[in-house]
């Protein structure tokens, strides 16, 4: 396959970025999208040019490190798939592919396609945990949890923190990310004691980081590699309002 690429190149946050054209001749269908970028970088190095910086690590869809906008869609044309799990068989010979970083005010660009998603860590630091210090735990089966509740908490817990929800949202809202953790921990009996404090702090931190508000377009759920449901956002709002009304 021959592929034409238009890739966002930007040396650092302070410098001006622009789209740059490249072309590849011998891309195969079984290649992953990131292996196609490896191929491009191999050629750039031989031509003594600076390779394209992009984030990636596990290449099996679970670490959440990779993620770029491909033809205007977070993680590319397939629904619910990370960039690393996208393969070139999705494209046709002669296609032009536009590749840009995840764009959001709260995700400043570091270099080319790499962005800083440290805001997500700070949202978790604000309360995305159950305070169970090592050694304090009771016997595991002393806390039975109904199967359907455990499964629902799991659905929320599967978030990989890639940021596609933010990148695809017209408001750059992190509501799906924040709500997934709020919901997981609010559903579990272990997480109830801190539920009120947690949701207030996490939502406030999300605002502080400069993410926009959710206006229920549901675009996030279309791109989320883990198929996290927007219903978690509704639950977060309910938990938030309940916490505001009932807190001392």
């Amino acid at each position: 396959m021959r592929i034409k690429l238009k890739i966002w190149r930007q040396e650092s946050l302070a410098k001006q970025g622009r789209m740059v054209d490249y072309s590849l001749q011998s891309v195969t269908q079984d290649m992953s999208f990131l292996e196609m970028l490896d191929m491009l970088n191999g050629q750039l190095i031989q031509q003594k040019q600076r390779p394209v910086e992009f984030d990636h690590d596990c290449r099996e869809g679970i670490c959440g490190q990779c993620g770029v906008m491909i033809n205007g869609r977070a993680h590319g044309p397939l629904p619910n798939t990370t960039t690393c799990q996208l393969h070139m068989r999705t494209f046709k010979d002669g296609d032009t592919i536009y590749i840009e970083p995840f764009r959001a005010a709260a995700f400043p660009i570091k270099c080319d396609l790499k962005v800083d998603r440290g805001a997500f860590d700070r949202i978790i630091q604000a309360g995305g945990y159950i305070s169970a210090s090592t050694g304090e735990a009771p016997e595991a089966n002393s806390i039975p949890i109904r199967h359907d509740i455990a499964e629902a908490a799991f659905d929320a817990a599967t978030c990989i923190g890639c940021g596609a929800c933010v990148a695809t949202c017209k408001n750059s809202s992190a509501a799906l990310f924040t709500s997934a953790k709020v919901t997981q921990l609010a559903l579990l009996p272990q997480g109830q004691l801190e539920a009120r404090r947690r949701v207030l702090h996490m939502v406030n931190q999300t605002d502080k980081e400069g993410f926009g508000h959710c206006s229920n377009t549901e675009a996030c759920q279309v791109e989320c590699p883990q198929q996290i449901s927007v219903l978690h956002i509704a639950r977060m709002n309910w938990e938030y309002n309940r916490a505001l009304l009932l807190s001392e």
Partner: protein, 636 residues
């Protein structure tokens, strides 16, 4: 010289005795003591969080952009614990026995017993943190059985057990970061260890976003930097997994133990082309319901479905009737390689075997199979474009886990005072082969329950030391050496990218120091790796400068791989027996099974760095079996 410091007394009393007599640091003194933790996977995160909770000052580093992305995240199948929730006769002693047998009697009894003992508490801790393990309709925790054992002691969270355990540890770590007790530096790689008067006193790191090289001092340094199976290039590991931290500590005096013992995982997706960067793991749990086979006819052209039962060779069921498809990983991988090498492989490159779910789907229904393995079948389809409900998966073995690592004593301290290694970075518990669902266990137990007791035993003597001054000459010298290495990599004006050397090294190791090894092959590999290393420093090209530069990161890792690769071959060469993952073709039974030699090789190989281009020095830690009798491992 090698003192394992195993406490006296009966096996079941050793750990409790240790904990009851180890030195303590009073809460008021803990703030004065500073621990550096490198790596934020399951062992690093859990240790940093636990030490922070206890009141120590902790500085923690990872190369990823957030602590949550460490490769523990990718472990799928589960975590073992002898809770005996299934009432099937599980005990600490039985789990100890399974693990030491699984490791082919090449691990320490005391360590393995402690691993089994602490497994019970780990499940409690994870559940308290909100880790959503699978549950029965009763609301109680569910278990399944996993490769190499006959009880159900594996706790699991769909196919994402590693991710969920890591998130539990990560959240505990974030809580400590918020409290100010742990300082976290993401996107930092360790360049060197600083040793002053025989004690680990700090590290040199590089900020991978800015290129700045920094000094950090502490009273103890813990390496929780994972395994180095990525040395084979094609492996189940993440692209960034590396040996650099442990290797650079090795060059500062820490011994490296059993470096050649790499687990080759039997159920991975086969290579499909030259460009490939990764062989994705399909959870071993698939072997609970999938049957492995190849056609009996080498020249079979029909699709799998059209091959009648009588023309299929279910070779694991044939060779190992009592364990069948559930035999341990080393046995399953070697059996697959044997069939593939003999010409019976399937797929376009004839480099795979079938993993067939048709019987399980007939017996249990498609829905039940989808509930158990749905995410794995989806992943398979995304990567290969094939539907595993309709045709068998094609799988093949791939490099996966490093049983070897830094040599540590019972306290998880290396032979350098104050330098610890936890999780996959050490060599301690798995012997010559790791059992499925024991890696998450070991990483967690080291981080939550072992190092938090053993590190204070050392720190208790450091209370009067005062803050470590990073302006000492040893820090300056280590920083200068690290900068020199970076400069050398940037200054080599060749034409080849670092990946080229990594791929070449990987092929050498896979062929000569992979599933099977021989004297001639290993000697050839050593010579070829030396030549490749010379080429690397002549022909490497790293574009750009010392600032953010992925190619510079890669080149640094490959430079270390080119050294540890040679050590792996020496290690495999000197071990003239077959045990666990280490299969020397010269030492096998008439029916092709591993031939262990307890008389001459019942020891841990701990290697000392002798300098570039010099033969490494072998130290032996004898293994004592006072509580079990090493037997021939049979899964027949």
């Amino acid at each position: 010289m090698l003192e394992a410091k195993i406490p006296d007394g009966p096996l079941e009393q050793k750990w409790v005795h240790y904990r009851s007599t180890a030195k303590l640091v009073s809460p008021g003194n803990r703030r004065k003591l500073h621990v550096i933790v490198v790596g934020t996977g399951l062992s690093g995160s859990s240790l940093a969080a636990s030490l922070g909770e206890m009141g120590y000052q902790v500085t923690c580093f990872c190369f990823q952009d957030t602590a949550r992305r460490a490769h523990s995240v990718a472990a799928q199948g589960g975590v073992n614990a002898c809770k005996n929730y299934k009432n099937d006769g599980d005990t600490v002693l039985r789990m100890f026995h399974d693990t030491i047998k699984g490791g082919d009697f090449r691990s320490r009894e005391a360590n393995v017993y402690r691993l089994a003992e602490c497994s019970v508490e780990l499940i409690d801790q994870a559940v308290a943190q909100g880790v959503p393990f699978a549950r029965e309709y009763s609301g109680y925790l569910s278990n399944r059985s996993f490769g190499g054992v006959q009880v159900s002691r594996t706790f699991y969270a769909r196919g994402q057990t590693g991710q969920q355990l890591l998130l539990g540890a990560y959240q505990a770590l974030m809580r400590q970061v918020a409290s100010g007790r742990v300082q976290l530096f993401t996107r930092h790689e360790m360049l060197d260890l600083v040793v002053i008067e025989g004690k680990a006193r700090g590290i040199i790191v590089r900020n991978m976003d800015t290129g700045a090289v920094e000094r950090h001092g502490g009273h103890a340094v813990v390496l929780a930097t994972g395994g180095f199976g990525k040395i084979y290039y094609l492996s189940t590991l993440a692209m960034g997994c590396n040996v650099s931290a442990t290797w650079r500590a090795h060059k500062r005096g820490a011994f490296f133990a059993n470096p050649s013992w790499t687990q080759i995982h039997p159920t991975c997706l086969p290579q499909s082309g030259e460009y490939q960067s990764k062989l994705t793991l399909m959870s071993e749990s698939l072997r609970n319901d999938g049957r492995i086979w190849v056609p009996k006819n080498k020249d079979e052209k029909r699709a799998a479905k059209e091959i009648p039962e009588s023309e299929r060779d279910y070779y694991l069921e044939r060779r190992y009737p009592s364990f069948g498809n559930l035999c341990p990983r080393d046995v399953a991988s070697r059996a697959a390689k044997e069939r593939i090498d003999a010409g019976y492989g399937v797929g376009p490159l004839k480099n795979a075997v079938y993993l067939d779910f048709s019987r399980a789907i007939n017996e249990q229904g498609k829905e039940k199979i989808a509930e158990k393995y749905g995410n794995l079948f989806r992943m398979y389809q995304k990567i290969t474009g094939l539907n595993a409900y309709a045709e068998p998966m094609r799988i093949s073995p791939a490099a996966h886990f490093s049983m070897g690592g830094l040599w540590v004593d019972y306290e998880l301290m290396t032979n350098v005072s104050g330098l610890y290694a936890v999780g996959e970075a050490n060599f301690a518990d798995h012997g010559a082969n790791r059992l499925g669902a024991n890696s998450l266990l070991q990483a967690s137990v080291d981080g939550y329950f072992i190092a938090p007791y053993t590190i204070p035993n050392y720190l208790a003597n450091e209370i009067k030391t005062g803050p470590v001054d990073v302006n000492q000459s040893a820090f300056a010298a280590a920083e200068e050496a690290a900068l020199g290495k970076l400069k050398r990599l940037l200054g080599t004006q060749g034409t080849m990218p670092a990946d080229h050397f990594h791929k070449t090294l990987g092929r050498i190791l896979y062929d000569k120091c992979g599933l099977s090894r021989s004297r001639a092959g290993l000697e050839e590999a050593i010579a070829r790796i030396r030549t490749l290393r010379d080429q690397f420093y002549r022909e490497l090209r790293v574009p750009g400068g010392p600032e953010m530069n992925s190619e510079l990161e890669k080149a640094g890792r490959v430079a270390d791989y080119l050294e540890v690769g040679e050590l792996m071959c020496y290690d495999a060469l000197t071990r003239e027996e077959s045990c666990g993952a280490h299969f020397r073709v010269e030492y096998q039974t008439s029916d092709g099974e591993a031939l262990r030699n307890d008389k001459d090789f019942s020891f841990t190989s701990a290697w000392e760095w002798a300098g570039t281009g010099k033969e490494p020095i072998l130290h032996k830690e004898p293994l004592h079996f006072d509580f079990v009798t090493p037997s021939v491992r049979s899964y027949k």
